[in-house]
């Protein structure tokens, strides 16, 4: 288990528990009471710590290397997942993966950013930072889903779109703009779940959805706290302050009415009990999908468009005063 800086006291407790277990095994003496006491303290501390995470700590949890990534969800809560590759123009960008699958027997199109879990896979998936061909693949798959009347579920987990020479040359901006446009125009349900990092344009490109859900300790932001700190504070060390100012937590964004729902994580974060998180995510997809498939396609599209059109407009009523 990889412990984060602020989890140090918990890590120490767990170390102590492991030590005691070892001693009790070797010596054959029973110190179960002591172990149980420590264990319940560790659980309590973990709970309290995670209930009071500040925005910067949430940022660290959202980026935790052991946190379940898109492929973990794809392979656990769906069946028959068949990866479909390529943008039909340039290449296959493995930072964004997608394909057909079944969810409780129903066909769905799932698309998500994959960060990878070790050096090899991180490189393969470019750390979840997509290039234009990734966003063009996403467009292709969303259009295919629209064509066949299949609901789309996207999983967002990216630091942002990849900043590179080739990406610019092939039209990173245009690819993101068209991906947003495709999200907004399809006539099938579109549910988006931010599972880790929702990084700026690279995130909104696949999450301009009917429903935007966020995991309890995920973040969604217009810029990374580090980037914001270096631009506005001219000091990269002010990331913690920037994270607080940006209102990037699920809880803040729900309050601001910019996302629709929060998915509760197990005590100590999604990485501590993946099965539990898969169960919670399954329940929320089920609930939202059941609601959305009842709505006619044109209405789905119109409602999605009106939802975004209203973001930033004060009620028309106020204007006539």
């Amino acid at each position: 288990m990889h412990f984060l800086e602020f989890e140090k006291p918990i890590a120490e407790l767990e170390g102590r528990i492991a030590e005691l277990r070892h001693v009790s095994e070797v010596a054959g003496t029973s110190i179960t009471d002591e172990i149980l006491k420590l264990q319940s303290k560790a659980t309590r501390d973990l709970k309290v710590t995670y209930q009071n995470l500040n925005p910067w700590q949430k940022t660290l949890v959202a980026r935790h290397p052991d946190r379940p990534h898109f492929l973990d969800y794809a392979n656990s809560i769906f069946t028959e997942f068949i990866i479909l590759s390529g943008d039909r123009g340039f290449s296959d960008d493995k930072a964004i993966l997608g394909g057909l699958a079944r969810f409780k027997g129903r066909s769905v199109m799932i698309i998500g950013q994959e960060k990878g879990h070790d050096t090899e896979t991180r490189l393969k998936h470019n750390f979840g930072m997509a290039k234009p061909e990734g966003y063009r693949k996403a467009q292709r798959l969303m259009k295919m889903a629209d064509h066949f009347g299949i609901p789309v579920i996207t999983f967002v987990d990216t630091a942002g779109a990849y900043p590179g020479v080739g990406a610019e040359e092939r039209g990173q901006s245009e690819a993101i703009a068209r991906s947003i446009e495709t999200c907004l125009n399809i006539r099938v349900p579109l549910i988006s779940i931010i599972i880790g990092e929702g990084g700026s344009g690279g995130a909104i490109a696949i999450s301009s959805a009917n429903k935007i859900l966020m995991l309890e300790h995920s973040i969604f932001s217009v810029i990374s706290p580090e980037g914001c700190a270096s631009i506005l504070w001219r000091d990269g060390d002010k990331s913690k302050t920037a994270a607080e100012s940006l209102k990037l937590t699920a809880q803040d964004l729900k309050k601001l009415g910019l996302i629709d729902d929060i998915i509760q994580e197990p005590v100590g974060g999604a990485h501590r009990s993946k099965e539990e998180v898969f169960k919670k995510v399954t329940e929320k997809i089920d609930k939202n999908l059941k609601e959305l498939i009842k709505v006619e396609g044109g209405q789905l599209r119109a409602r999605r468009r009106e939802k975004f059109l209203a973001m930033g407009r004060i009620e028309k009523k106020n204007l006539s005063e």
């Binding site: 610019e168 039209g171 703009a177 344009g201 506005l232 601001l256 910019l258």
Partner: protein, 334 residues
Amino acid sequence: MNWLTNFVRPRIKKLLQPREAPDNLWLQCPNCKEMIFHRELEKALHVCPSCQHHIRLTANQRLELLFDNKEWTEIQLPNVPVDPIKFKDLKKYSDRLKLAQEKTGMHDAAIVAHGNMGKINVVVAVIDFSFLGGSMGAAVGEAIVSAAELAIVQESPLIVIPSSGGARMQEGVLSLMQMPRTTVAINKLREKGYPYIVILTDPTTGGVTASFAMLGDIHIAEPGAVVGFAGARVIEQTIRETLPEGFQRSEYLLEHGMVDIVVHRSDLKNKVVQLLSLIMRPDPAAPILPLNKNRKSKLFESIKSSEHNSNSNIIDPSIPDTSLFEVDGNDNKN
């Protein structure tokens, strides 16, 4: 209730007012450092006579450049939430806003105006880089949305002239949401069949290029303008290489297929008018008409009574416009 009665009531006729400048004012070209006499610079439309560098213009200078007789009507934009996340860095965002307002005399970074361009009624939204780097928060989003709505009401083409560093960080995710928001507005305009032209000026990057600025029917760019998604510095830090010559400049974008034409400022208005006329006036004998796919019958009517139709592009606030709120109606047809 009518959109126009709320938003367009104060009709401010803008007329060119000769700016007062001391007779001995000389300015330095930011590119070649040549000193240029201000009258000469104005005559050259703020293009450096010695190196052809296109100096950044204010929003009003942009409008002067394009509208016939330098005459237009600016519309009052709806209010937006001010400082939605109570943002504070070294300064309060609300103070930064006030400062920018005092410095520029603008309410926010974008203004929307309508008027004639080569006798064609056109709606223009322009973003001024000098207002907080032209960044897009709810107010700039609102400007683009209102401009698209106004173009639909006036059955006119829309021209957007961005210059922007991207999303306005100080408004958090609300600024990010302006990307889908403006995209919806542009889509609604295009579904009605009205032309949408983007004039990319220096610099246009980030969330602005990754939404409405890259969705034009036609993309025009001023020479040498920096247009891209990620900032050059960020890219350099990521790839740890020096960037190719002319990277993210208009000519480079043209070469890579991202813009249609690169046009010198002195030819900009002519090109825009020519393009609009080619799109909207396919038959030279016919009057200038909006291309309106959804209202074929009205189009034919207008052709029949073209003699009396010269005012068709002028809005009459007394006529309630129902088309604006038929949001769902269109969506269900196709």
